[in-house]
């Protein structure tokens, strides 16, 4: 594994951890970013959903940071970011989320177990 993957992994891990903490701090405010159609799909109340999102973000961030199952957690990060882009819609920060999603996808590919030939 080269330095580049490790630097990106740690950076993405820190981002997920910090965002998770910020969501915990103001779950309702973060929930306001959701599109009305996405709010209608939630099977639980918005605050609980955002708290679960915070726990998910912190879990993904921590496992990326300590490099345990990095391929799996990079993939989860990618799926999560695509979901965020979908349910939040195009806003001023969509470009950032697209960049993060691309990073998560690149990490997934880099860490994916190679088939022995």
């Amino acid at each position: 594994m080269r330095y580049t993957e490790n630097i990106i992994r740690v950076g993405l891990g820190i981002t997920f951890l910090w965002i998770g903490i910020l969501i915990f701090q103001h779950p309702d405010a973060w929930g306001q970013a959701l599109q009305p159609w996405a709010l209608g799909l939630l099977p639980i109340d918005l605050r609980t959903a955002m708290m679960q999102t915070a726990v998910f973000d912190i879990t993904v961030g921590f496992f990326l940071l300590v490099e345990v199952l990095p391929a799996l957690f990079s993939l989860l990060a990618f799926i999560h970011l695509i979901t965020v882009i979908t349910v939040v819609g195009i806003t001023g920060v969509t470009a950032r989320d697209i960049g993060l999603a691309a990073i998560a996808l690149a990490l997934t590919i880099a860490y994916w177990p190679k088939r022995k030939s």
Partner: protein
């Protein structure tokens, strides 16, 4: 509104420390020589008789410290506990880590006479945390 810049910086530095310590624990447990980005003496230092304190490996002590510090910073952001007590606890933790870092730097310079990139990086992160704690207002 509380300025979160020092909190974010402290948390980021602690998270880098977690990643670094986790890497050192993993390489030690797998009996793999850690990558030494600068110099070639990492293994000399990490396998020396000073690689543990009170029967616990330094990498584990570092990992626990960084986890505790990152957790405390998160609690500070969330205002989940009384801020002044938490800040005092963080300062005590950091003072302990600073003393240990200085001791490890002394060991590398004067006793082992070899430098380990990861140990120096850890000392630098502790130093940065000291600067942030001493120069900013965390509340």
């Amino acid at each position: 509104m509380v300025n979160l810049t020092p909190h974010a910086l402290l948390f980021t530095i602690a998270a880098i420390g977690i990643a670094e310590a986790a890497y050192l624990v993993k390489t030690r447990r797998s009996e793999i020589a850690p990558v030494c980005p600068i110099g070639q003496d990492c293994s000399t230092v990490l396998s020396s008789r000073y690689n543990h304190l009170f029967g616990v490996h330094n990498d584990i002590l570092g990992f626990l410290f960084y986890i505790a510090f990152a957790g405390a910073t998160a609690l500070l952001v969330l205002e989940a506990v009384e801020v002044s007590s938490l800040l005092s606890a963080m300062k005590v933790m950091l003072a302990g880590a600073t003393i240990m870092s200085l001791f490890l730097v002394y060991l590398q310079a004067k006793v082992i006479r070899a430098w380990c990139f990861w140990c120096v990086m850890s000392a630098a992160t502790i130093c940065l945390m000291d600067i942030i704690i001493l120069t900013t207002t965390l509340s």
